[in-house]
C-alpha cells in the first residue's frame, strides 16, 4: 500500500507568509506537495471556524501563519489572531481535534527557508498521525453549519 499522503491546508497572510512562500519559490527550495494555501489579507481575518470547516472537508492538518508579532502589515491584526487562537485551541480540543494537527507559526516575507521547513515538518508530523477521520464523531455537519452560518455545498 502506498504511504498515506496527508492533505494540509495553510491559512496565510498576504504580506508575510504568502510573500515568504513566494520567496521559497524564487529561491527554488523544495518542499512537500501536500500543502494547499488559502491567501487572506491578514491572519486577523481568520475566523477560526474556518479551521473546523477545513477539517470537515478533508484536511488532515492545518497551518496558520502570518507576520511576526510587531510586523503586522495592519499593525495589530496578528495580535488579535493570536489572542483568539488561545481561546480557539480549547474549542478545537473540545471538538476532538488533536492539537498536533494544527500549527500556528510566524513566517516573514524574508523567511523562504523557514516556510519550506515548516511545511515539511507539518506534513511529516501529520503523516505520522495518519488520516483525520474522527471529525463527524463530535460535530456533525449540521452543527458545523450552524457554527459557521454559511451555506455548505458547491
Amino acid at each position: 500500500m502506498a504511504e498515506f499522503e496527508p492533505k494540509v491546508v495553510a491559512f496565510v497572510c498576504n504580506w508575510c507568509t504568502y510573500a515568504g512562500a513566494d520567496l521559497t519559490g524564487t529561491s527554488r527550495m523544495k518542499y512537500a506537495t501536500n500543502v494547499r494555501m488559502i491567501r487572506l489579507p491578514c491572519t486577523g481575518r481568520i475566523d477560526f471556524m474556518l479551521l473546523l470547516q477545513a477539517f470537515g472537508h478533508g484536511a488532515d492538518g492545518i497551518i496558520v501563519s502570518g507576520c511576526h508579532p510587531g510586523d503586522c502589515h495592519y499593525s495589530a491584526g496578528n495580535f488579535h489572531a493570536r489572542r483568539r487562537w488561545m481561546l480557539f485551541r480549547e474549542l478545537l480540543d473540545f471538538a476532538g481535534i488533536d492539537l498536533r494537527r494544527v500549527h500556528f507559526s510566524w513566517v516573514s516575507a524574508a523567511e523562504g527557508a523557514k516556510w519550506a521547513e515548516l511545511v515539511n515538518d507539518v506534513v511529516n508530523q501529520v503523516r505520522a498521525l495518519g488520516p483525520y477521520d474522527e471529525f463527524p464523531k463530535r460535530l456533525n455537519r449540521q452543527s458545523l453549519e450552524q457554527l459557521c452560518s454559511v451555506e455548505v455545498g458547491r
Binding site: 491546508v9 506537495t33 487572506l40 495589530a76 519550506a116 455548505v152
Partner: protein
C-alpha cells in the same frame, strides 16, 4: 450560470518544466462553470493578454482565472487586461502555479495534481466574486512636515513652491536642526550657516508655509489624503505678535549660567533665550525649568524691561487641530554622548569631546569664536586625537551599523584643526575610511597628503589622564600591530549617529514602522526610499538612517515630489478590499447587534457608529459602519463579529468557504 475562463501559463519552462500544463488545462475545462480553458507560453505578454480579452468577449466570461506566477507579481497586469476586455477587474483571480508549485516541487504527478487543485480552488472562489469598484477619496492639499532641520526645510520649500500649503512643526525654539550647529561642511568646506540661514528665512516668509516652533505632534489619525493632526504648541511665555525680537529680555535675564544645548554644553544661555543669533523665528522663549520666576516665584525682570510688554507668564500650551493630506517625517538624529564609553572614562574627562562639540569649537559663531580650545582650561591643544567609529560598528555596545558620515567629518575636523593650529599634531585612529561620495575620497586624501594628519589604523582601547594630558592607548595594525601611545591634549570622539530618543513613540503615534535601531523604515530600501508603509506618510533625512547633507537634501526633495504628485489629483482611488456591514430589509435592517467588538479590534479606527432611524427620525438601532476611506481591509473585524454581520470584499466568508470545500 457562471461562465469562467481558465488560462494556464507555461512561463517558458518555468512552470511547464515540472507541471503538465496541457493536462491542467484539460482537467480544468471539466470543472463546473468553466467554459473556456487554454494553456499558453507567456500569459503576461501582449498576445497572452489578448487571449484573455478576446475570450471575455467571445465566450461572454463572467470570471477569469489566470494560473501563472504569484499574484504579487502580475495580478495588476491581468486585472487590467480584464478591464480592457470589458470585465470588472475584480472578477479575475490568479492561481500561483510558479512560486507555490512548479519552483518548489519536482517533476512528479503530484505536482500536476497540486496545480489542478490550485486552479480548482480559484475557480470556486472566482465564481463567488462580485464586481467591485475602486473607492475614491478626496485629498486635502496641505502637507504636515515634522522637524525643521535641513530635511524638513528642503521638503517644506519644495512642496510650498509647488503651490501647496505646508504646516511645519519643530520642537525646538528655532528651525535649523543640526546643520545650524556645524562649522564648515565637507567636502567643499562651505560655511554651514551661510548656506542654511537664507533657507530658514525663506521658510519663515513663505506664504504657503505655516511654522510652529516649540511644538510637537500630539496625535495623528486618518488616512492618506485625509489625516487629522493635533499639534501641541508649548507655551513660549511670550506673545509672539507683540515681541519684536529686540533682545532686551535676554540681556537682562539674571540667570545666565544655563548650559546651551545649541552650543553642545560648551557655552551658556539665559532662561529666556533664542538658541542662536540667526534663529528663525528670532523671538525668545522662556525655559520654565530654569526660569527663577517659574521655579522660585520671584524675578520677572524680563517683563519689567520688555519694551512691548510681550512677556506672558500665564501662557498655556495650545492644542491646534489641522487637516492634512500627507505627512513628511524629518525629525533627524542625535549623537551619542561621551559617557557612552566606559573605556574612555565614562565622560569624566572634559577634554574628550564629541564631533558635534568640535563643530561648535570650530564654528566662527561658536563659544570660542572658532578658536580650538580645550574645555578644561582653554588652552589650544598641541596634539589632538580623533577617534573614528566611536560607538558605531560596535555590537558590544548595541550599535552594529556604520554611522556613514563620521569618516568624512573626522577628516574635516582634522583638516580644520591643522588649518587653525599649524604647528599642531593631529592623529586619527580609524578602522576603515569610508569616503564613497563625489569628491569625498579626494577630500580625505588631501587631509592626509597636504595637511599631514597622521592616520593610525587600529581601534583605541583606553584613554586616561596623566599630568593634564590624555593618554590614548591604541595600536597600529599596519605596523605589525604595534601598540601606540599618544599623549593628546584633546580627544574628539566621532560618536555614533543614533535615532532621536523618542523616535519609537513618534513612530507609534504615526503608526509607521521603524527598524531595530529605531530609525524610521522606508517602504522599500531601493525602490520606495521615501515612502513609508503607511500610505501618505513620507520620510526624509537622518531620521531614516545616518546620512550627510547632500543625501538628506536629495531625499527631502524626493519626498516633496511624492507629496506634490499626491496633491496633483483632487481624488485618490484605492482598492475596494474593504469591510462592509450587511444591511437587510426591515425589521432588522442589519444583523449587527451593535456590540462594537469590531470597533475595539480595528487597528485603524475605521469603525464608526451608524444610527438607523425611521422616516420620522425615531432611532431604531445603532449599528457598526465602516469608514471605507480608513479601512485597510485586514479583516480582523470580520473574524471577530459573532453575528457574521461584516464581510470583507474580495475575501468574503462565502469565497473562502468555497475555496475550502473545493479541496
Amino acid at each position: 450560470m457562471p461562465r469562467i475562463g481558465v488560462f494556464i501559463c507555461h512561463c517558458g519552462e518555468n512552470i511547464s518544466g515540472t507541471v503538465d500544463c496541457a493536462e491542467v488545462a484539460k482537467v480544468s475545462a471539466e470543472f463546473p462553470g468553466v467554459v473556456h480553458s487554454v494553456d499558453y507560453k507567456y500569459m503576461c505578454s501582449d498576445p497572452g493578454q489578448n487571449l484573455i480579452k478576446n475570450a471575455i468577449q467571445e465566450k461572454k466570461l463572467t470570471g477569469v482565472v489566470v494560473a501563472a506566477c504569484s499574484p504579487r507579481m502580475h495580478e495588476p497586469t491581468f486585472r487590467r487586461a480584464c478591464a480592457e476586455g470589458g470585465l470588472n477587474p475584480f472578477l479575475c483571480e490568479m492561481a500561483n502555479l510558479r512560486e507555490h508549485c512548479s519552483w518548489v516541487h519536482e517533476k512528479l504527478p503530484a505536482t500536476t495534481e497540486k496545480a489542478i487543485d490550485l486552479v480548482r480552488i480559484m475557480v470556486e472562489k472566482v465564481k463567488r466574486n462580485r464586481p467591485l469598484f475602486s473607492i475614491n477619496v478626496p485629498v486635502t492639499k496641505t502637507a504636515l512636515v515634522l522637524g525643521g532641520g535641513i530635511a524638513g526645510i528642503q521638503a517644506a520649500l519644495d512642496i510650498a513652491n509647488a503651490g501647496h500649503k505646508v504646516i511645519m512643526v519643530e520642537r525646538q525654539a528655532s528651525i535649523g536642526g543640526h546643520m545650524a550647529q556645524l562649522s564648515e561642511t565637507f567636502p567643499t568646506l562651505d560655511c554651514s550657516q551661510c548656506i542654511l540661514t537664507p533657507r530658514m528665512v525663506e521658510v519663515a516668509q513663505h506664504p504657503n508655509i505655516t511654522l510652529y516652533t516649540y511644538a510637537e505632534l500630539e496625535k495623528l489619525d486618518g488616512f492618506i489624503g485625509n489625516f487629522r493632526a493635533v499639534i501641541r504648541k508649548k507655551a513660549k511665555s511670550i506673545d509672539e505678535k507683540l515681541c519684536t525680537g529686540c533682545g532686551v529680555c535676554f540681556q537682562k535675564c539674571p540667570n545666565k549660567k544655563i548650559l546651551s544645548e545649541f552650543n553642545t554644553h560648551l557655552g551658556t544661555r539665559t532662561a529666556i533665550y533664542v538658541p542662536f543669533p540667526q534663529a528663525v523665528p528670532n523671538k525668545p522663549v522662556i525655559d520654565r525649568e530654569h526660569c527663577m520666576y517659574f521655579q522660585k516665584g520671584k524675578c520677572r525682570i524680563c517683563e519689567k524691561f520688555c519694551p512691548t510688554k510681550a512677556i506672558r507668564f500665564d501662557q498655556q500650551d495650545e492644542l491646534i487641530e489641522v487637516n492634512v493630506g500627507a505627512v513628511v517625517a524629518a525629525t533627524g538624529y542625535e549623537v551619542k554622548d561621551t559617557d557612552f564609553f566606559p573605556e574612555y572614562g565614562y565622560g569624566k574627562y572634559p577634554d574628550i569631546i564629541t564631533g558635534l562639540q568640535f563643530e561648535r569649537l570650530a564654528s566662527a559663531s561658536g563659544p570660542t569664536g572658532g578658536v580650538i580650545k580645550r574645555p578644561s582650561d582653554g588652552r589650544i591643544p598641541e596634539t589632538i586625537a580623533f577617534i573614528a567609529c566611536a560607538g558605531s560598528r560596535d555590537p558590544a555596545k548595541g550599535i552594529s551599523y556604520c554611522s556613514k558620515i563620521c569618516c568624512m567629518y573626522t577628516a574635516k575636523h582634522a583638516m580644520l584643526y591643522k588649518h587653525k593650529v599649524h604647528q599642531g599634531k593631529a592623529y586619527v585612529f580609524y578602522m576603515d575610511i569610508r569616503a564613497g561620495g563625489k569628491m569625498y575620497e579626494e577630500f580625505v586624501r588631501r587631509t592626509i597628503e597636504e595637511d599631514e594628519v597622521h592616520y593610525v589604523r587600529g581601534r583605541v582601547s583606553r584613554i586616561y589622564d596623566r599630568d593634564g594630558k590624555l593618554v590614548v592607548r591604541g595600536v597600529d595594525t599596519l605596523l605589525n600591530a604595534k601598540p601606540i601611545e599618544i599623549e593628546a591634549d584633546m580627544v574628539v570622539l566621532a560618536t555614533a549617529m543614533v535615532a532621536q530618543p523618542d523616535a519609537e513613540e513618534l513612530a507609534q503615534k504615526m503608526k509607521v514602522s521603524y527598524d531595530e535601531n529605531k530609525f524610521l523604515s522606508e517602504a522599500h530600501p531601493k525602490l520606495r526610499p521615501v515612502e513609508m508603509n503607511t500610505a501618505g506618510i513620507f520620510v526624509a533625512g537622518a531620521c531614516q538612517a545616518p546620512k550627510d547633507i547632500p543625501e538628506t537634501v536629495a531625499q527631502a526633495s524626493a519626498a516633496a515630489s511624492k507629496v506634490a504628485g499626491l496633491f496633483s489629483k483632487d481624488e485618490l482611488s484605492r482598492e475596494p478590499v474593504v469591510a462592509v456591514v450587511s444591511r437587510t430589509g426591515p425589521p432588522e435592517f442589519s444583523n449587527c447587534v451593535g456590540c462594537f467588538l469590531c470597533e475595539s479590534a480595528c487597528p485603524y479606527q475605521a469603525i464608526e457608529h451608524e444610527e438607523i432611524k425611521t422616516r420620522d427620525g425615531k432611532l431604531i438601532k445603532t449599528v457598526a459602519k465602516i469608514n471605507q476611506g480608513v479601512c485597510q481591509g485586514c479583516g480582523t473585524c470580520v473574524a471577530l463579529c459573532r453575528t457574521k454581520s461584516i464581510d470583507l470584499q474580495g475575501f468574503t466568508n462565502e469565497q473562502i468557504f468555497a475555496e475550502l470545500v473545493s479541496l
